[in-house]
C-alpha cells in the first residue's frame, strides 16, 4: 500500500475505504508484490527472525501474509519521522509503600491452572 492510499484512508473518502481489501486473495497478492518492490526491509527471513525472538511459531500461511502486512504497517509507522523532538515533562514519581507481609494465595490455588505440576511446583519442559 502506498502512502497516498494511507492518506486517503485517513481522510475517510468512503469509496477508497470500502474498496481496500474487498478481495482478500487479490489484496494478499498485491501486498506481497508491494513488499517485494517497495520495502527491502521485510522478507520471510525478517518475519521468521522476529517470530523466533518472540518464541511464537507461525502456522502455514501466516508467515507469508505477515510479510506483506508488516511492510504496509511498518511503512505507516515510519511517518513517526515527521514528529518533532518534544521536550518531555518528567513528572513521573515512584509510588512506594513499606514492604509488609500480607495474605496471599495458597499453593494449591496458585498451581490450579498449571497443565503439569510435581511436588507442589510447576513442571516445565527441559531447559536445553
Amino acid at each position: 500500500m502506498t502512502e497516498d492510499t494511507t492518506e486517503s484512508d485517513r481522510n475517510g473518502e468512503s469509496d477508497t475505504v470500502t474498496d481496500v481489501g474487498s478481495d482478500p486473495v487479490e489484496a494478499d497478492a498485491s501486498e506481497a508484490m508491494a513488499a517485494e518492490t517497495e520495502s527491502e526491509a521485510v522478507d520471510v527471513g525478517t518475519v521468521e527472525h522476529v517470530a523466533d525472538l518472540a518464541r511464537v511459531n507461525l502456522e502455514s500461511g501466516e508467515r507469508e501474509r505477515f510479510v506483506g502486512q508488516f511492510a504496509d504497517i511498518l511503512e505507516y509507522f515510519e511517518t513517526l519521522d515527521e514528529v518533532p523532538e518534544v521536550e518531555r515533562d518528567p513528572e513521573l514519581t515512584n509510588v512506594m509503600r513499606p514492604d509488609e507481609i500480607s495474605e496471599s494465595l495458597d499453593r494449591a490455588e496458585t498451581l490450579r491452572n498449571a497443565p503439569e505440576t510435581e511436588d507442589g511446583q510447576f513442571k516445565g519442559p527441559r531447559v536445553s
Binding site: 484512508d9 518472540a54 503439569e116
Partner: protein, 425 residues
Amino acid sequence: MSHNGYITEQEIQGRDNGPLAGRTVAVKDNLSTEGVRTTCGSDMLAEYVPPYDATVVERLKQAGATITGKTNMDEFGMGTTTETSAFGPVENPAAPGHVPGGSSGGSAAVVAAGDADLALGTDTGGSVRCPAAFCGVVGIKPTYGLVSRYGLVAYANSLEQVGPIASTVEEAAELLEVIAGPDDRDATTRDATDHGTDYEFAAAANGDIEGLSVGVPTELVEGAQPGVREQFWAAIDDLEAAGASSREVSLPSVEHAVEAYYVIAMGEASSNLARYDGVRYGSPGGYEGDWNDSFARSREDGFGEEVKRRILLGTYALSAGYQDKYYRKAQDARAWVQQDFDAAFEAVDVLASPTMPVTPFELGESLDDPLRMYLADANTTPVNLANLPALSVPVGETDGLPVGLQLVGPAFGEKRIIRAGSALA
C-alpha cells in the same frame, strides 16, 4: 445469546444491598472473576479460572450488583471489531450483519440488546468508546489512574483503563462511581480528591451546560464519513441550543496518534504476553523438545493471528537498532499529543469529535486488512496517549447505522464530560 455477546453466562450474586442492588452488570472477559473462567477471548486461556477477583469485580459485588456473565471480546483486547475472538464474532444488535466494534464488543452488545442493564469494558485505544458508538450506547474511558487495573489481564498497561457501558450517561456515571477510587494493589491509581474534584459522577449528569465551551478539533472531523459528520454537527447544534458555545480548534499532533499508539501498545503487548508459556497456565503443553520449542509451539496453538501479529511487530519495534526509530519516536509523539491537549483545554472546557470516523463495518469486511482496522482508531487513540477521560454518546444514525459523539475532558474532568454528555443522552 443470539448475538454471541457472552463467552460464559454465569450469574455471580453480589451483596443484598448497595447502590447497584437489583441491577445486572456484564463483565468483559479480561477482568478476573474468582472461580469463573476468564478467557480474554483466547484459546490460550480457554480453561483459565482465576483464584481471585479483580478490584472492579470486588467493588461490583460490594455494591450489590448481579453479574450476568463474562462478555465476548477481541482476543486479549486486540481488535476494533470483536471478530478476533477465539469464541466467534459478536453481531451488532443495533445494526444486524455488522460488527459491534471492539474490543469490548460483547459488553456493548449485551447492553444494546437489553440482556444486561450495565457492563464493564476496558479501553486501551478506544475499546469502550468504539463499541459504545457502534452499538448506540454510552461508554466512558476514565482518566488514567482513576480506576484500578488490579485483576485486569494486561495488554498495554500504560494506556488501558476499565470503563462503564450503559444506555444513558447517568447510568454509566453511576457505575463509574462504584468502580473508581484508589487501590493499594495498583500503584498507578490516583485519588480524584487530590486533583481538585470528587466522585459524585451521577449527580453531574444533570444536563446543565449553560456557558460550556466546546472545542471541535478539525483534524478529528475532516476525516470522518459524510453521514457521520452530519450527525456530529447536528449534535453540536443541540449542545448550542442547550446553552453551550462551540469553536474549532487545532490539534496537529493527533495526525500521528494512531501510529504512536500502535507502536507503544504492540511493544507493551510483546512484553506482557511473554507470560503465556504453557507452564503456569495456558494451552495444555506436553510438547516435545526443550523450553524454547515447547514455549513457541504452545504459543502457536494458543494465540490467534492478530495477537501473533502484534507480538511480532512489538518485538520488532523494540529490537536492537529499531528502538530509536519506532519506540522513542512514538514516546515523543505521545508527549506532543499530551501538550496539544493541555493547550486546547486552556481555551475550551471540553473537546468534541465523532467517536469513530466510520460507521460499523460489515461482519468479515476488515479482517484481511489489519492496517485499515487500525486506522479506524484515529479519534480514540489520542485520548489514551494523553491519559485523559472521554465518553461516547449516541447521536442518531446514518443509513440505519449508529453514530457516536466523543467528548474529551482534562485529566480528572469526568464530571465535566458527564454533564456535557447528559445533555445528549
